[in-house]
């Protein structure tokens, strides 16, 4: 576990459109080490992995394998060099069996060109035994547990003679016992000289398992350290960065005597939402955060009627509120701005006016009994929202496809404004928009709240919520683990609470 690095990355840069995903990344991975990679969402971890996998080409910088500089031209070349990647969603073919998945893309053939299953089985079985696969290799993958799928993925990497296996959030869907089994396998791989790049939000695991750790922040590698000389606090600081910038936003003090707009009591949905209760006041901006998989998205999907809870109740303005569909929720006065702007929010190929008025068509009838659109009123409505949100478009007839991400996001938010909903839920409102648009979106949200609208903002960025919210709820493993109010809403407090693991999970 010493000497020359197997993989060496220097000054790597990569941009997507206007976004600089990697601004200069250095990374050395030694043979036979478990190397932890940490950083907030969007810090550049997944972009680096895509570059290593040969999926994305870097703009600048170098990548060396065994001291030889290489330029990867595709994922096959990366695999040939011994780099193997296990993604969080495990790219397995569900209807195939374990053996077929392990050999996918690299089959052995008999003399007449048919797949030689006997030879394959003979080759795979010893590897399968080594990683502790106890189920039969002809079991269909769809019937296996997440832990068993991880074993198959590791087995697949080993059969291909991988010298580096990258694992992305391997324990996200594993139980404690399954996680421990995985750690055992990871350590055994390291002893045999296979390097493991271990990407995780769970700092306990990083501290426990890794030999060395690299932290990413904002597209740069800000720290590379031996784990022995590293404290948990140092690691957190590296992820979060220095002091939070001074925010102009002054949270409105929470006053429990005010009547709530929304009251959520003991909501349960499978394992993702577990007995969640909270109140939301009128005119309040409530932040909701937590790591991916903490249950925050599932929670708001229930509030918006997109999913039904297993149990629990909700009250909206002292009336029972149990929306059976998003249309129900809209009729109750709830609006939702989804996380995936292009896939779930925007009508591509349609005009700005179409997108701004689509949630409000009934108001645009010439007369309630004459269901024809009043074109002039429609144009007026679109122009009014457009100028209120300062949407930059050449006209309201421009197709939304031609606008920037920030302007598209303003339009997705804007369609709710005329309805004047009582509650507006925004999921990652500033993802993928530039700094200027982000500030404007924050301003819009504050203005809406000042006019009496209640707002729930979901964000993965710990920096965003202190700039925006009066109160923040932090979720972990389906529960609210921390409530932050007023001046206690800081980036550090949010990160600390997010990495907190509830007692029931240990």
């Amino acid at each position: 576990m010493s000497g020359a690095p197997f993989v060496s990355v220097r000054e790597l840069q990569k941009h997507f459109g206007g976004i600089q995903a990697l601004k200069g990344v250095d990374l050395d991975i030694l043979p036979g080490e478990v190397h932890g990679l940490v950083g907030a969402n969007g810090a550049g971890k997944s972009t680096l992995i895509k570059v290593l996998a040969g999926v994305e080409k870097p703009d600048a910088g170098s990548l060396s394998i065994d001291g030889v500089e290489v330029q990867l031209s595709g994922s096959q070349q990366a695999a040939d060099l011994g780099l193997s990647f296990i993604h969080q969603e495990l790219n397995l073919v569900p209807c195939w069996n374990a053996l077929e998945n392990i050999m996918l893309g690299a089959p052995k053939r008999t003399r007449v060109g048919l797949i030689d299953w006997r030879a394959i089985r003979a080759q795979v079985q010893p590897v399968a035994d080594k990683v502790g696969i106890q189920f039969p290799l002809n079991a269909p993958v769809a019937k296996l547990s997440p832990a068993e799928k991880w074993l198959i993925s590791i087995c697949r990497a080993l059969v291909r003679k991988a010298r580096l296996i990258s694992m992305d959030e391997p324990t996200a869907s594993l139980s404690i016992r399954e996680s421990e089994n995985l750690f055992r396998i990871v350590r055994a791989l390291a002893v045999e000289g296979v390097a493991v790049l271990y990407v995780s939000h769970r700092l306990d695991e990083i501290m426990d398992l890794c030999h060395r750790v690299t932290a990413f922040r904002d597209g740069r590698s800000v720290m590379q350290s031996e784990r022995k000389t590293l404290t948990r606090k140092q690691l957190l600081e590296a992820i979060v960065g220095g002091e939070a910038p001074v925010s102009e936003h002054h949270p409105i003090p929470y006053d429990s005597s005010r009547p709530p707009l929304l009251r959520v009591s003991e909501l349960v949905s499978g394992h993702s939402v577990r007995e969640v209760s909270f109140d939301l006041q009128k005119g309040e901006v409530l932040g909701l955060t937590g790591l991916v998989g903490s249950g925050r998205t599932e929670l708001v999907r229930i509030i918006f009627g997109a999913d039904q809870p297993d149990s629990g109740t909700m009250m909206l303005e002292d009336r029972a509120y149990s929306p059976r569909s998003p249309a129900d929720a809209v009729n109750f006065g709830v609006g939702f701005v989804p996380e995936e702007r292009r896939a779930e929010g925007l009508f591509a190929g349609k005009s700005v006016a179409f997108n701004l008025t689509i949630a409000n068509l009934l108001d645009l009838r010439i007369q309630p009994w004459l269901p024809l659109l009043d074109g002039r009123r429609r144009a007026g409505m679109a122009k009014e929202i457009g100028s209120r949100l300062r949407v930059k478009a050449s006209s309201i007839d421009t197709l939304v496809d031609h606008l920037s991400g920030g302007n598209q996001q303003k339009i997705v938010i804007g369609k709710w404004l005329v309805r004047n909903p009582k509650l507006l839920i925004l999921d990652e409102p500033s993802r993928g928009v530039d700094v200027g648009a982000r500030g404007e979106i924050h301003r819009i949200i504050r203005e809406l709240a000042a006019q009496g609208m209640s707002v729930i903002v979901i964000s993965s960025e710990a920096e965003e919520l202190p700039e925006l919210c009066d109160r923040v709820l932090v979720m972990a493993e389906g529960k609210i683990v921390q409530e932050l109010r007023g001046n206690t809403i800081t980036r550090d407090a949010i990160v600390h609470a997010s990495y907190h693991r509830t007692a029931s999970a240990v």
Partner: protein, 323 residues
Amino acid sequence: MPKPASQNRIALSLLAKYGTILGLFIMAGIFSVLAPNAFPTFGNFLNVLNQASLSMIIAGGLTVAVIVGELDLSVGYAASYAGVLVTGLIANQGLPVPLAIILVLGCGGLIGVVNGLIVTKARVNSVIATLGIGTVVVGLNFAYSTGAPIVAGVPDSFTQIALGRIWGVPNDVLIMALLVTVLWILVERTPIGQSIQAVGANPVAARLCGIRVDRIKILGFIIAGVCASLTGILLASSLGSGTTGAGDSYLLAAFAAVFLGSATLRDGEFHILGTCIGVLIIAVGFNGLAIFGAATFYQYLFQGVILILAVGLSSLSRYFAEK
């Protein structure tokens, strides 16, 4: 040489957008030169419109289904069934003509409801669902008619619907014009129409806006079914009989017209006006083939090639729109 390349691209995207209209005029021009006495006359113009009206009605309904993002392959069979059923109800069951027509239109709507429920609730792909239901409709058709054409006992009051004229304009053309206007207003100028377009453009976003996506899709199928029935009724009226397979061939013509239409004026987007142009192209083509006395197999060649061309043009104009 980036400049000529981008000029080429602009030229290609213009061709994709206006090529169909240009093609219609070129075709009409060629026919006018080659057959100056037969093609460019007022009588033949009305004749083309008359031939186009039934296609237009069925294609107009199909356009709405396609705008909501689904395909309806049952429309041809639904038209055949409507023709048999309406003549049968009048001639065999002795129902008054208006009542029979209303019942049969309702029947077309019902086929649409079934299609829509299967697609939205059972989540069957619309190609398979409507192919299956279309085949069931063929079965119902044979069960009702036992396969024999219904000729005897069809009154003049029924045949006059299609054969009659007002101020020299065939009733079919007037009905078509009325229906196209209604459909155009529905799709382009009403809240429901905006919802229909929204569901087709992005069903997930539409649902999250509070649009009831399933209902809108079912509505699309209902409109397609009712229009198919209307085509079948008018066809039976002009033939004076109900024949089991009379409307089947309208399916391909309608699809060709709808896809040609999506490549017209807008970038690969389906719309009623475009469908009108598409129907006219096919009608003019058929008319020309008939004037020159081309053998029947040319009609099939023409229609097959047009269908492929239409879908190709439609994808091309979408491709250039994204560039």
